[in-house]
């Protein structure tokens, strides 16, 4: 493991890769800060650029963007009470009241230190957990993988649906349907191409991500007549107050950070749960742990109330990389985008990545940590300046997002058809978003579609067409039982509990 860490450090600390981490963190912070545009959009916008780089450099850039976007989301939560991403909603509960009391600088510092500490602790967990789990996951067979993929999709649908599980499941099926377009991977038989050569290779992953996130988010803002930068115009972004913390505040953080890190990491590892649930659970847990006197301050600018969700959401980000790197199965929409990018580089994440491409495996882990250091050293002092991005008028912001999206797909295909297809999918996604049909399950399903079919094919061929492979092995049976429990719970919640 030490050797691996050194390989990772050597790769991550090269001048080029360090520069990429900085660029990634900086641009991620800017994009993540804009309400409505989260890490998925930030990463999606970066994918076409990364295709010109080596895989490790490209991934390091994307990891930087990811952490930067999460940090940026916290900034807009604290300053204008407009969380850039759902994972930072809990941050606004105490961060925004602190900003209103003239302690915006302090709130940003608490958020940055907590994120850093949470990220550091979870990076250590990741260092320990990932190689061990890689070895364990070598015992996984096709039926287990197939079961795990269904589990991931069901869990993401359950957690991202906000009570509309069936809507989320429709999006899962739509994502799988889109993934089935093109030649069959084994027999090369064309499917759903309608004799159009442009569809023979299937629909590009970048196209679907750009259309369903970057482009449709921009169109939704215009369609709804929202102005995400309106709140920023009402506050002074250059006078945020001191970022220094006193002894008592530091003491409070010291007790909060370890427990929130452990909770955040565990939640992050679970498929579908992710940063949003981790931050809310950490907030709730912290409220139960503190003394009554501090409990009263929750929602009014509590240090513990701000540190807990910030620590947990960053720890969950690291945790979400565990299933991606060890099993090759993303547990969230953001890691699904990362998986798509990895596949684009010709790298198949999974238990063998640790052995076949150790430099990629370790450099991604190490660069996450370096990314957090960059956020703390560079981004925090620059926040008063970066925060001015929040005041960018939407009249400029939206066309620039659309331009980046079209450019992204143009750079990959040089094909008009792909641009039209992207616009079509984006318009469809905008309407679906309007009526609360969630997009993360669609992306996850699109990314997993090919792998799911391969594993189902192997499982059915091994069991001679019988579906008994779903319960023949104890591991597969446990996974299937978990799926049944999730679906059962959703049905109970939606149709029985409310009656």
């Amino acid at each position: 493991m030490i050797e691996g860490i050194l390989i990772g450090l050597e790769t991550a600390l090269s001048v080029k890769n360090l520069l990429m981490v900085m660029i990634g963190c900086f641009s991620g912070t800017i994009i993540g800060m804009l309400p409505g545009l989260g890490p998925m959009t930030a990463i999606a916008l970066m994918i076409p650029i990364t295709y010109g780089f080596e895989p490790s450099t490209g991934l390091i850039l994307m990891a930087g963007v990811y952490y930067g976007a999460v940090f940026g989301g916290s900034t807009s939560s604290i300053l204008i009470n407009a969380p850039g991403v759902p994972g930072t909603v809990a941050t606004s509960f105490d961060g925004y009241p602190m900003a209103q009391q003239g302690k915006a600088g302090k709130a940003l510092a608490i958020a940055a230190y907590s994120s850093f500490a949470g990220g550091t602790i979870s990076a250590i967990f990741l260092l320990i957990a990932a190689p061990s789990l890689s070895k364990v996951s070598l015992a996984f067979r096709s039926p287990d993988y197939f079961g795990l993929m269904i589990l991931g999709l069901t869990a993401v649908a359950a957690f991202s649906s906000k009570g509309n599980f069936l809507k989320a499941m429709m999006m899962v099926v739509l994502g799988l349907m889109l993934a089935s377009v093109g030649q069959d991977s084994l027999s090369d038989i064309p499917r759903f191409t309608f004799q159009n050569m442009n569809l023979a290779d299937g629909i590009s992953f970048v196209l679907v991500v750009m259309a369903t996130f970057a482009m449709s988010e921009a169109l939704t803002i215009i369609f709804k007549g929202n102005d995400p930068t309106k709140a920023a115009k009402q506050i002074s972004l250059s006078q945020l107050g001191s970022i220094k913390l006193d002894k008592e505040e530091t003491k409070k953080m010291v007790t909060t950070i370890p427990r929130s890190s452990v909770l955040g990491f565990i939640i992050g590892v679970l498929p579908g749960a992710g940063a949003t649930i981790a931050s809310f659970l950490a907030y709730g847990m912290e409220r139960n742990f503190v003394k009554d006197e501090e409990k009263e301050k929750f929602g009014k600018g509590s240090v513990n109330g701000l540190a807990a969700p910030e620590t947990a959401n960053n720890a969950a980000c690291s945790g979400s990389f565990v299933p991606l790197l060890t099993l090759g199965i993303p547990g969230s929409g953001t890691t699904a985008v990362m998986l798509g990018a990895l596949l684009g580089f010709g790298i198949q994440p999974g238990p063998r990545l640790y052995q076949t491409n150790p430099e990629i495996f370790w450099s991604v882990i190490m660069s996450m940590y370096i990314g957090m250091v960059v956020l703390l050293i560079l981004n925090l002092p620059l926040i008063p300046y970066i925060a001015r991005v929040l005041a960018t008028p939407r009249t400029f912001l939206i066309p620039l997002i659309l331009f980046f999206s079209v450019t992204g797909i143009y750079l990959i295909s040089f094909n008009n058809f792909d641009i039209y297809l992207m616009i079509g999918i984006a318009v469809g996604a905008t309407i679906l978003r309007l009526y609360d049909f969630p997009m993360p399950p669609l992306i996850l399903a699109f990314v997993l579609g090919g792998l799911m079919e391969v594993n189902l094919r192997r499982s059915l061929l091994i069991s001679d067409g019988s579906w008994s492979f779903l319960w023949d092995r104890p591991l597969t049976a446990v996974i299937m039982l978990t799926i049944v429990l999730i679906v059962g719970w959703q049905i109970y919640k939606s149709f029985i509990k409310k009656r």
Partner: protein, 156 residues
């Protein structure tokens, strides 16, 4: 009786799934694969049925959390204009070249969204695209097809 938009979308998805399933059954597989445990048709057929089941359930079951969207406040005109601009951008990008089509797309989009600060409209279009192209083409070595700039002899 008023049908909610979410149910209409689900109904459309039901029809789409039906069409998908029909097309899935039309996939031609090799003769020796016809009765195999798994062929190119198997997975899409399951997906088609899954789509039909989930959308049918949504249509049949009562809505517990209906989405409340006030359609009267939606900005149809601006959104449609932006989509049309993007389509025109898509048509012209290969013929007119990246620089010209992108710059004009940006200028028109800013105007459609109500921007009238002309200096910023100019800066964030032609010079901005030129710098962006230099970054991609000049520094990152990413190929950009541009017949217009090639004709002018600016790029090779």
């Amino acid at each position: 009786m008023k049908i909610s938009p979410s149910k209409i979308i689900s109904l459309l998805f039901f029809i789409f799934s039906g069409f998908y399933l029909y097309t899935a059954y039309q996939i031609r597989v090799f003769a020796f694969d016809e009765n195999a445990a798994f062929n190119a048709r198997t997975f899409p057929v399951y997906l088609g049925y899954a789509g039909l089941i989930f959308s049918a359930l949504y249509i049949i079951l009562p809505e517990r959390k209906p989405s409340n969207v006030d359609v009267s406040i939606l900005e149809y005109k601006k959104t449609i204009l932006l989509v049309v601009l993007m389509i025109i951008y898509g048509i012209t990008i290969l013929k007119a070249g990246y620089f010209l089509s992108t710059s004009i797309f940006l200028v028109l989009s800013y105007i459609v969204l109500g921007e009238r600060r002309w200096i910023w409209v100019f800066i964030l279009s032609f010079p901005f695209v030129a710098i962006f192209m230099y970054l991609l083409h000049g520094l990152l070595n990413i190929y950009l097809r541009d017949p217009f700039l090639k004709y002018l002899g600016i790029i090779g």
